[in-house]
């Protein structure tokens, strides 16, 4: 009998070892799959988005004449220069750059090569070169988003003309400009300073960065103290009874409630009952801090629990009261863990989109918010909005907004890791 079973296992051994190896390969396969997903995600977004960090400019000769007199401009203050109307002046100058084109419809097409706000570029040039300005100048004007995309190579020329947003005529002009070395790239500063825009080449992250900043400050101010103090009470002072059990169950459940439910809470309570202003960082901040609170409480409790009882006993033994023991000895030791949890919670809140959609932080807002009660959007919401826009130029903007967002998240998590490494005590 015994002999028999040994024999069977012997004859199966090869098979079994093969199965063993196969099983191990499954594991390696699964892990590499997960790692490959991470890799694809990052390379995909970075490769789509990096081109939004520079923009295309086209050089145009601008000549001052009787209509806009150089002497009078030199006497104007910066504010006055911003007020004057240079639109038709710039337009005529652009025409003058292409003397061979006479048909009116063709002239219009040439204007379409430039961004709608090309006169702003001229004004900026005047203001920054006021001292040594000449009658004849070469000014770089922002290109329209179609030309921008073509120059970056994101937009294929092989698409048939009737489906292309840039006509063959415009392409020929563009090629001529490239040959004359009059098209250049520049770091895209406006992308970080301007608000949203209906023109892809002018749309920037400035407004949503400020909106996110206000929201996160509010989340920090609201959720950290409440979370810290609440956790201290629950971990150090509360007696174990039904009520504290109930609080604990509540916190664990809140941590797992879908974020969109917090959006409904914000809409139902903050906007409709308390009538706080819609679309503002104030409401967004309160909503997200309610969402972050459980995370902070759980992290703080865990780090309080890891402080060994000897610390408490030592303090109590030399005559400290219970509150003194906790506040002077236990909390300082638990603080790094709590701060780490807070930073991770805030990083999550920074990337949260769904609740903000419900409380109206999703509007098209051009102005950069000046305070938490101004209408604003946030970084991920801006990415969502751009993703919804049909124009080609917004695709790289969406990716770029996501790159910035991911950059902030990596930064936050790095800070959390550093704090943990540096201050955490291993007992």
């Amino acid at each position: 009998m015994n002999n028999n079973s040994l024999k069977i296992s012997g004859s199966n051994l090869k098979k079994r070892l093969k199965a063993e190896r196969r099983f191990r390969y499954y594991g390696i396969f699964a892990i590499s799959l997960a790692l490959i997903f991470v890799l694809i995600l990052f390379t995909n977004i970075i490769s789509k988005g990096y081109s939004a960090f520079y923009r295309t400019l086209i050089a145009v000769n601008i000549e001052f004449n009787d209509e806009i007199n150089l002497e009078s401009i030199k006497e104007m203050s910066d504010e006055e220069i911003k007020q004057i109307d240079l639109y038709s002046f710039t337009k005529k100058n652009i025409y003058a750059n292409f003397p061979e084109i006479e048909k009116k419809s063709d002239k219009k097409k040439i204007i379409k090569l430039f961004s709608i706000e090309f006169e702003e570029d001229v004004k900026k040039y005047i203001i920054s070169n006021k001292k040594n300005i000449d009658n004849k100048n070469q000014v770089f004007l922002t290109a329209s988003d179609d030309i921008d995309q073509i120059h970056k190579g994101n937009y294929s020329r092989s698409i048939p003309e009737e489906r292309r947003r840039v006509s063959n005529f415009q392409l020929s002009i563009y090629d001529k400009l490239v040959n004359q070395n009059r098209v250049k790239f520049e770091f895209n500063v406006p992308f970080f300073t301007r608000g949203d825009s209906r023109e892809a080449e002018l749309a920037g992250l400035g407004g949503s960065l400020i909106g996110s900043f206000f929201t996160m400050i509010l989340v920090l101010l609201l959720s950290f103290p409440f979370g810290l103090f609440g956790a201290i009470y629950l971990e150090e002072f509360s007696r174990k009874n039904r009520f504290t059990d109930f609080i604990e169950i509540n916190i664990n459940n809140l941590a797992a409630v879908p974020s969109i439910v917090f959006g409904l809470l914000g809409l139902g309570i903050l906007l409709n009952t308390f009538e706080l202003p819609r679309s503002t960082a104030l409401v967004g901040g309160i909503t997200l801090s309610l969402m972050t609170l459980p995370t902070i409480i759980i992290a703080t409790r865990a780090s309080l629990r890891s402080v060994p009882p000897s610390i408490r006993e030592g303090a109590l033994a030399v005559g400290a009261s219970k509150v003194q023991t906790v506040m002077h000895h236990v909390v300082p030791l638990a603080l790094p863990g709590s701060i780490t949890g807070t930073i991770i919670g805030i990083a999550r809140a920074l990337g949260e989109t769904a609740p903000l959609l419900l409380i109206g932080m999703v509007a098209f807002i051009v102005d950069i918010p000046g305070s938490p009660v101004d209408p604003s959007t946030s970084l991920p919401v801006q990415a969502y909005l751009w993703n919804d826009s049909a124009e080609r130029g917004y695709e790289e903007k969406t990716s770029a907004a996501i790159i910035i967002l991911l950059g902030f998240l990596i930064l936050f998590n790095l800070i959390a890791v550093i704090i943990r490494r540096k201050f955490e005590t291993k007992w």
């Binding site: 594991g27 997903f37 977004i45 009261s321």
Partner: protein, 460 residues
């Protein structure tokens, strides 16, 4: 304005603190008596009594004064018989006129009078608020100052106050839960008074746009517009696809990490996989739209399948990637907590490593693993941005993953995004969906946490 008030309160608190501190300190130094508590506790004691009640009164006044002022200013208008619905508009006009914005009726006698009244009553309110707060806090300061004697233990009271405020902080979690339940239930009950609950739960037609009627005159239309079955089916379809990705990958990853991997591999691969859990969902949504959906379409096209540009498959696949770390890290914990003796027993019987894992460890860890699956499912059901961006917005009762289908969360967003009319059944239906979602995830989480907890206790 707010900053000035904050500054005043803070400086008042600091002043009171020094008053208490110096009284105690003086006694200690000059009179050579020993106060019961440390000097600083007398300072805290005074600061608490002088500022905390004042702050509470201030908060109450700022919350309720708007209501009183509005009623007072509009009392004339009410007697003139102006319709209630117009009152808010008129009040806004009055406020705008006061703030220097010229309106078409800014010069009406009615408005001018009202503006004067508004200025008058606001001044009275502000001045009286300042006087009341000052009086109360000075009286309290005086009383508590006189109470400082050297057999008086300020520390006990200060500590009681600290404990009380900490306790109040811990109550916020309950308040949030109550707030969620209240806001969801309130609108849901109103919704079900117009749409029968049975029609909502078992109807197969979801088109809330059709029911944009506020009054229920067109009841037939309303009844047919709010059948949530297509949303439930879409939600479960996408969650199912997501689990098809995340369960095998997540579980195998967890097994390999805890049983096979060297610690160096483990220490690098685990954090990288956990990055997936930290990436914002809007990023996954964008990834699904821009990369996965076209990829699936081109594959479908090459084998002759019609794939719509928004498909449950794309959303589900990406959601599955997102959930991998939830499954893997929880299962990893559970598998690691299986006692070593079980493994050794199995090896002693001559089993190979994979046989041990399949026949001993997995069965032993099964409840915990299932718990982690349930948590992942609840995560998938509640996920919003991926499905909003990649799964489609129109309700469509289908089991075909290549077609667009919509979910509960998507419809909440679609209904409530932008401006909405608040009393229509359409907006209320979003809250009913929210409640359904809340209850579903609550049950799943509750079961999962119970299972995991019970299981981990078993081996401890």
């Amino acid at each position: 304005m707010g900053l000035i008030i904050l500054f005043l309160f803070v400086s008042y608190a600091i002043g009171s603190y020094y008053l208490g501190y110096s009284k105690s300190n003086k006694a200690r130094v000059h009179d050579a008596v020993r106060p019961y508590s440390l000097d600083k506790y007398y300072g805290y004691y005074l600061a608490i009594w002088s500022v905390v009640p004042a702050v509470i009164i201030f908060a109450v006044i700022t919350v309720f004064d708007g209501f009183f002022i509005k009623n007072y200013v509009l009392s004339d208008l009410y007697s003139l018989g102006i319709d209630v619905s117009e009152v808010d508009l008129i009040f806004t006009q009055i406020e705008n006129t006061r703030n220097g914005i010229q309106l078409f009726n800014s010069n009406d006698e009615l408005i001018v009078n009202a503006v004067n009244k508004l200025n008058f009553i606001e001044n009275i309110f502000n001045i009286s608020a300042v006087i009341i707060i000052l009086c109360i806090s000075s009286i309290l300061l005086l009383f508590s100052y006189r109470k400082i004697k050297f057999d008086f233990d300020a520390r006990v009271i200060v500590e009681k106050f600290i404990l009380l405020s900490f306790f109040a902080c811990s109550l916020i979690a309950i308040l949030v839960t109550i707030g969620i339940i209240f806001s969801l239930l309130y609108e849901t009950i109103r919704f079900f008074s117009q749409v029968p609950i049975f029609d909502f739960l078992f109807g197969v037609n979801w088109s809330p746009q059709r029911a944009f009627v506020t009054d229920a005159s067109d009841t037939a239309d309303i009844e047919n517009a709010f059948g949530a079955i297509p949303l439930f089916s879409g939600t479960f379809l996408i969650a199912f696809i997501a689990m098809c990705v995340s369960i095998p990958v997540g579980l195998l990853t967890a097994i390999y990490m805890s049983e096979y991997a060297r610690s160096s591999v483990r220490n690098t691969a685990k954090p990288i996989i956990e990055i997936l859990a930290g990436i914002p969902t809007v990023v996954y949504g964008f990834f699904a739209v821009i990369t996965i959906a076209p990829f699936i379409r081109s594959i479908g096209g090459s084998i002759g399948l019609e794939v719509s540009s928004e498909s449950a498959l794309a959303a589900g696949l990406v959601m599955g990637i997102m959930i991998i770390p939830f499954v893997s890290s929880l299962s990893d914990d559970v598998i690691s907590s299986v006692p070593q003796s079980l493994r050794e027993g199995s090896y002693a019987m001559g089993a190979t490593k994979s046989e041990t894992i399949r026949k001993v460890i997995i069965p032993a860890a099964l409840p915990g693993i299932i718990g982690s699956f349930l948590l992942a499912v609840s995560r998938a059901i509640g996920e919003t941005m991926i499905v909003v961006m990649a799964a489609g917005l129109v309700a469509n009762l289908t089991a075909n993953p290549l077609e667009a289908s919509t979910t509960i969360t998507t419809q909440i967003v679609v209904i409530l995004i932008g401006d909405q009319e608040f009393d229509s059944p359409k907006t209320m239906s979003a809250f009913a969906l929210g409640l359904t979602l809340f209850v579903m995830t609550l049950i799943l989480n509750f079961i999962a946490l119970r299972v995991v907890k019970k299981y981990t206790e078993k081996y401890e």
